[in-house]
C-alpha cells in the first residue's frame, strides 16, 4: 500500500513544502492557515506524544490493563481533528488520543477507560467527541446514522458555517473488512450523509498486514459505493488538514459523504500486550521512523524561523501535561461497588436494585468478621 502519484502530500518527509500535483485542489484550504496554526499543530502533536509515552509508562507500572499507543499517527489525527468545527461530531475508534485532545476531552478519561474504572470516560455531549469503540468497525454505522439525523434535522447545506454540521468517523485498515464498515458506506451513499470516513491505514491489524484486508489501495474501495475518496500521506499534518477540511466542507454543504485514506504507521506495539517483533521487520519500522510526522514539521518550522525557545516551550508544556496525567492517574481510586448496578436501565428497576442491595449487604457481612477469623467464613 505504497504512495503513488495520486497520494496527496504537501509537506515532504524531509520537511519541505512541496505539494504534489494531486494536492492542488486542496491548497486553498491549506493557504488559509497561518504560521500560528502550524505551531499549534506542532504543539498538539508534541503533547499527545508525551501523553502517549507517559501512558505507556503508567501501564508498565501496573496503573492500566493495557495501553494502545498512538505514536506515529499524530499527523493524520491532528490535521483531521483541527479541520473539524465545534458543531461537528466525531466517532473515534480507540487510538485517536490526539483527536480527543483537540476536541477538548480530559485525557484522564482515556486512562480511566484503559485502567478499568469505567466503560466510558467522558461525556460526548460536551465535546461532540463520542466514546471509544472497541468492537472493530461498529462506530462506522453509528456515525452514518448520526449523519442521517443531521440531514433529517436540516442541519446541512443552509450556508451557515456556524451550524451546518458534519460527522467524521475514524477506523483502521483492519476495520475495513468488517461488514459494518461496508454497510456504513452503503447507507452513507444511499442517504448522502454529511460525513467523512477517515481511515488510518497504519498497515497492520495487530499481526495481520493490510494486504490481507485488501488487494487494492483502500481509498479505491468507497468509489465502488459511489463515495469520492482521496489517499493522503497521513504523516503529513498539512495534507491531513487540507484534505479533511475540504471533505468536511463538502459534507456540511450537503454534497454528501467522502472518504480519506491516510497512509501512516503505528510505530509502537498494537497495545502494550503485543510484541510486534513477532510479525514485522526492523527495516519496515525504520523506514517509517524516517517519515515521522513531528520531526518533519519541526524542520519546516525551523526553516520559517521558529527558534529553540519555541520548541523548549512546547516541550515543557507537553511535559506538564504528562506530569499532570501521571499525578491524577496515581490518585485514581477504585469505583464504588454500586457502579456495577448504575445505569443498567434509564430508570432504576426493582430486580437490579435487589441485586445491588444483596451485594452491599453481602460485602458488609465481611466487616463483622473479627480480625482473628479473617479468611474464614463469616
Amino acid at each position: 500500500m505504497a504512495e503513488s502519484e495520486t497520494t496527496v502530500s504537501l509537506l515532504s518527509a524531509e520537511g519541505r513544502l512541496e505539494p504534489t500535483p494531486s494536492a492542488e485542489q486542496f491548497l486553498p484550504y491549506f493557504e488559509k492557515l497561518t504560521e500560528a496554526d502550524y505551531r499549534q499543530f506542532y504543539a498538539d502533536m508534541a503533547q499527545i506524544r508525551a501523553f502517549d509515552a507517559e501512558a505507556t509508562h503508567l501501564q508498565r507500572q501496573g496503573q492500566m490493563g493495557l495501553w494502545p499507543p498512538s505514536t506515529g499517527q499524530e499527523g493524520a489525527q491532528v490535521g483531521s481533528a483541527r479541520a473539524s468545527r465545534p458543531q461537528d461530531h466525531i466517532f473515534p475508534s480507540y487510538r485517536e488520543h490526539a483527536v480527543g485532545l483537540i476536541r477538548g476531552i480530559d485525557l484522564l478519561g482515556i486512562i480511566e477507560l484503559m485502567r478499568g474504572t469505567t466503560h466510558g470516560g467522558w461525556n460526548p455531549q460536551e465535546t461532540n467527541f463520542h466514546l471509544y469503540t472497541l468492537v472493530i468497525g461498529s462506530q462506522a454505522l453509528h456515525a452514518t446514522g448520526y449523519a442521517m439525523g443531521v440531514t433529517f434535522d436540516g442541519a446541512v447545506g443552509t450556508g451557515d458555517p456556524e451550524s451546518d454540521t458534519a460527522v467524521m468517523v475514524y477506523f483502521g485498515d483492519g476495520a475495513t473488512s468488517q461488514g459494518d464498515v461496508s454497510e456504513a458506506l452503503v447507507f452513507a451513499a444511499s442517504f448522502q450523509t454529511p460525513q467523512v470516513f477517515f481511515l488510518q491505514n497504519n498497515h497492520w491489524a495487530i499481526s495481520v498486514p493490510v494486504s490481507t484486508q485488501s488487494r487494492v489501495p483502500l481509498y479505491l474501495r468507497p468509489r465502488g459505493f459511489g463515495i469520492p475518496s482521496t489517499q493522503i500521506d497521513g504523516n503529513d499534518v498539512f495534507a491531513s488538514y487540507a484534505v479533511t477540511a475540504k471533505y468536511l466542507d463538502d459534507a456540511r454543504s450537503g454534497r454528501g459523504p467522502g472518504f480519506i485514506e491516510a497512509l501512516t504507521y503505528r510505530i509502537g506495539a498494537h497495545t502494550t500486550s503485543d510484541d510486534p517483533t513477532k510479525y514485522r521487520t526492523d527495516d519496515e519500522l525504520a523506514s517509517w521512523v524516517k517519515r515521522d510526522p513531528v520531526l518533519r514539521l519541526e524542520t519546516y518550522l525551523r526553516g520559517l524561523g521558529a527558534d529553540d525557545a519555541f520548541f523548549d516551550g512546547v516541550r515543557d508544556e507537553a511535559a506538564d501535561l504528562a506530569a499532570d496525567i501521571r499525578r491524577r492517574t496515581l490518585a485514581l481510586g477504585t469505583p464504588p461497588v454500586g457502579k456495577i448496578f448504575d445505569h443498567v436501565y434509564s430508570d432504576p428497576h426493582p430486580v437490579i436494585e435487589e441485586q445491588r442491595e444483596w451485594l452491599a449487604q453481602y460485602e458488609a457481612s465481611f466487616d463483622d468478621v473479627p480480625a482473628s477469623a479473617e479468611g474464614e467464613r463469616a
Binding site: 493495557l66 472497541l134 497495545t271
Partner: protein, 361 residues
C-alpha cells in the same frame, strides 16, 4: 482490542507457558510405546497439542481466525501451527467474524472441517447471524444430507482485568440455539481431548475456552480413553451438597468444596463440560444422594445455563430436594469495568455462602 489479556494477572501472553515446545513436539515424533505417557502442561498448550493432533490426523481440518498464523493467536493457542502446516491450513483471515463463520460454513459444505478462532468472547457477535441462523440450522434444513463439522473456539470469562468486551460469558446465547453443541473444558486433559472430539463431531460445536485457566498446568493423559464430549463429570465426590459449574468456575467450586470440607461439610462437584445438550445423569444421581444443589457460573443468572439446570432438577428430582436449587452467578448487569470485576464475579466465598443457605433449609 486484543491481548489485554493477562495484564493484571501478571502473566504475559508471551509466556512460554503456552508455547508449543516439548509436549506437542514429542507427541508428533513419539514412538507408539511412549504415547501412553502422562504429561503436565497448561490448558492453552494442551489445546495447541490437541489442534496439532487433529491437523495431523485429518488433512481436511483447517484453522482460521484473526492473528492465529504468524502471531499464534493473542493467547498463543495456535503458536507454531502455521509454520508446521502452512498458511492454507492455518489461515490468518481478514478482520471479520461474520466472514470467518460464513466462509467456514462454505468450507464445511466442501468437505473441510474448519476450526474458527474468535479472538475474544465479546467479538463473537458480528458472527452471530452466521452461527445461529445458518450454522446451527443447515443440517436440519438439508434433512441430514449436509453436516456442519465446524468448531468455533471462543476464549471467554473474566478474572484477567481486561477492558470491555474481553471478559464476557456469552455461552447461554448459543446454548439457547438448537443444533449447536456448546462445550467448555475446565482442565488441560479435557482441553486436549475435547478439542479433538469437537473437531471429529459432525455437529457444529461452540468451544468455550476459560481464558483464566489458559496458564495453570495440569496433567494430560495422551493415551487416555477420552470421556465422550457430551458427558458431565464428577470432579469431586461428596455427600451433603452438590455443586455444578463449568469452565473456570470448576476450579472455584473445588476450592469451595475444600474449604467446606475443612469445616466438616462434604460437597460433591460436577463439571458440566457440555452446556448443550446437558448430560443430566450424574447431576440427578448426585442430587438424589445429597438433596441439595448449588449451580454456579460467571454469566448473569437470568435466562442462563444455571437457570436451566435449576428448572430441570426441580422437575425431575423434586422429592429428593431438601432445599431450593440455588444459583450463584454474575449479576444481571453488563460486565463491569475491570476494577470491580472481583465484586461481580462469583468467588469461592459466594459459593460457600450459598452452601450455608442451602444447608440452612
Amino acid at each position: 482490542m486484543t491481548d489485554i489479556t493477562t495484564a493484571q494477572t501478571g502473566v504475559t501472553v508471551d509466556s512460554e507457558a503456552i508455547a508449543p515446545s516439548s509436549p506437542a513436539q514429542s507427541m508428533q515424533t513419539a514412538p507408539a510405546a511412549a504415547v501412553d505417557s502422562i504429561q503436565t502442561m497448561p490448558l492453552g498448550r494442551a489445546l495447541n497439542a490437541g489442534l496439532r493432533k487433529a491437523l495431523q490426523d485429518d488433512d481436511r481440518v483447517l484453522l482460521m481466525g484473526e492473528d492465529i498464523g504468524t502471531l499464534g493467536g493473542v493467547f498463543r493457542v495456535t503458536e507454531g501451527l502455521q509454520k508446521e502446516f502452512g498458511p492454507q491450513r492455518v489461515i490468518d483471515t481478514p478482520l471479520a467474524e461474520s466472514g470467518i463463520v460464513g466462509t467456514a460454513i462454505g468450507l464445511a459444505m466442501r468437505g473441510y472441517r474448519p476450526v474458527c478462532e474468535i479472538q475474544f468472547d465479546g467479538f463473537i457477535y458480528p458472527g452471530f447471524d452466521q452461527i445461529t441462523s445458518q450454522l446451527a440450522k443447515i443440517t436440519n434444513r438439508h434433512e441430514g444430507s449436509v453436516s456442519m463439522p465446524v468448531v468455533i473456539r471462543v476464549p471467554y470469562g473474566g478474572h484477567i482485568g481486561a477492558i470491555e468486551h474481553h471478559q464476557e460469558s456469552p455461552e447461554a446465547y448459543f446454548a439457547h440455539t438448537a443444533g449447536l453443541r456448546v462445550v467448555s473444558p475446565s482442565t488441560p486433559n479435557d482441553a486436549y481431548w475435547m478439542i479433538q472430539e469437537a473437531i471429529a463431531s459432525n455437529d457444529p460445536v461452540m468451544f468455550f475456552e476459560p481464558k483464566a485457566r489458559y496458564w495453570p498446568k495440569g496433567e494430560v493423559s495422551l493415551a487416555g480413553n477420552p470421556v465422550p464430549l457430551h458427558a458431565s463429570r464428577v470432579a469431586r465426590e461428596g455427600t451433603e451438597v452438590t455443586l455444578v459449574g463449568h469452565g473456570a468456575m470448576v476450579t472455584m467450586l473445588l476450592q469451595a468444596a475444600e474449604l467446606a470440607a475443612q469445616e466438616g461439610t462434604s460437597v460433591e462437584v460436577i463439571d458440566l463440560r457440555s452446556l448443550s445438550p446437558i448430560d443430566y445423569g450424574p447431576i440427578l444421581q448426585s442430587v438424589h444422594k445429597t438433596g441439595r444443589l448449588v449451580v454456579a457460573q460467571e454469566a448473569p443468572g437470568f435466562v442462563s445455563v444455571g437457570s436451566e439446570i435449576a428448572a430441570t432438577v426441580t422437575e425431575r428430582a423434586f422429592y429428593s430436594l431438601q432445599a431450593p436449587v440455588l444459583r450463584v452467578a454474575g449479576f444481571d448487569a453488563p460486565f463491569p469495568p475491570a476494577k470491580v470485576e472481583s465484586l461481580y464475579l462469583p468467588d469461592a466465598d459466594r459459593v460457600l455462602d450459598a452452601i450455608d443457605r442451602s444447608l440452612a433449609y
